[in-house]
Amino acid sequence: MYAGRERPTGGFELFAWFFMRISGVVLILLVLGHLAIMHVINTVDEIDFEFVAARWASPFWRTYDLVMLWLALLHGLNGLRTVIDDYVHRKGWRVVALTAMAVIGFILLAMGTQIIFTFEASASRVAAGLP
């Protein structure tokens, strides 16, 4: 009675149903770890460009952030898809809403992936004229 969405019988919807549950479990570990490190142990008073540069010098944290970015964004977008399907009934508006969601979602995924892969502290410092 208080469960989540009823399990679909097959196809993409069944895949999405399992994806939400599996990514959800992984995200609990990744996001709570991220919040503990970046918002409780350290705070926004300590975090600046050099803080992130030191962190991303390690491939471990780049991989951590990349996995978290992909899982969190796809989990969130699929949740938004369910909400749009529930509340936007007119077919035309639903196509508009889902298309806007897909375009913005793709741009955000591309931006996040690009900065994690291409970030290079020394090059950015030089470009900005910083020591």
Binding site: Y2, R21, G24, V44, D45, V83, A128
Partner: protein, 117 residues
């Protein structure tokens, strides 16, 4: 549908917190993208250091914590034979766990703002 009582409220809160977290994630991706311009990135940090954001940050943690605990409850009801029978007890366990984690965490997060370092 689960009209009324705990079931409906936990479902509404799961949606509202999920959408709120997604909105912050979108903003967060844009701010991290600005790392390519270190000067601009550092200059904009005053926004996140503002007391209003420090309080909002505590509610962001509340949203994530609620969404995580409620997600675990959904999994227990979906995959654990006893989950459906014990759904009401699970809800109250969730409320207690939320308060036990969120209250001390909020104190740790806000004490530098309120008392200084």
């Amino acid at each position: 549908m689960y009209r009324g009582r705990e079931g409906m409220w936990s479902w509404i809160l799961h949606r509202v917190t999920g959408l709120g977290i997604l909105l912050f994630l979108a903003i967060h991706i844009v701010d991290i993208y600005l790392l390519g311009w270190p000067d601009l990135f550092n200059r904009l940090l005053f926004l996140y250091r503002h007391p209003v954001f420090r309080v909002a940050e505590v509610f962001l943690v509340a949203a994530v914590l609620y969404h995580a605990l409620n997600g675990i409850r959904i999994l227990l009801v979906d995959f654990w034979v006893e989950g459906t029978r014990l759904h009401r007890q699970l809800f109250w366990v969730q409320v207690v766990l939320f308060l036990l984690i969120w209250i001390p965490t909020s104190f740790l997060m806000l004490s530098p703002v309120v008392f200084g370092r």
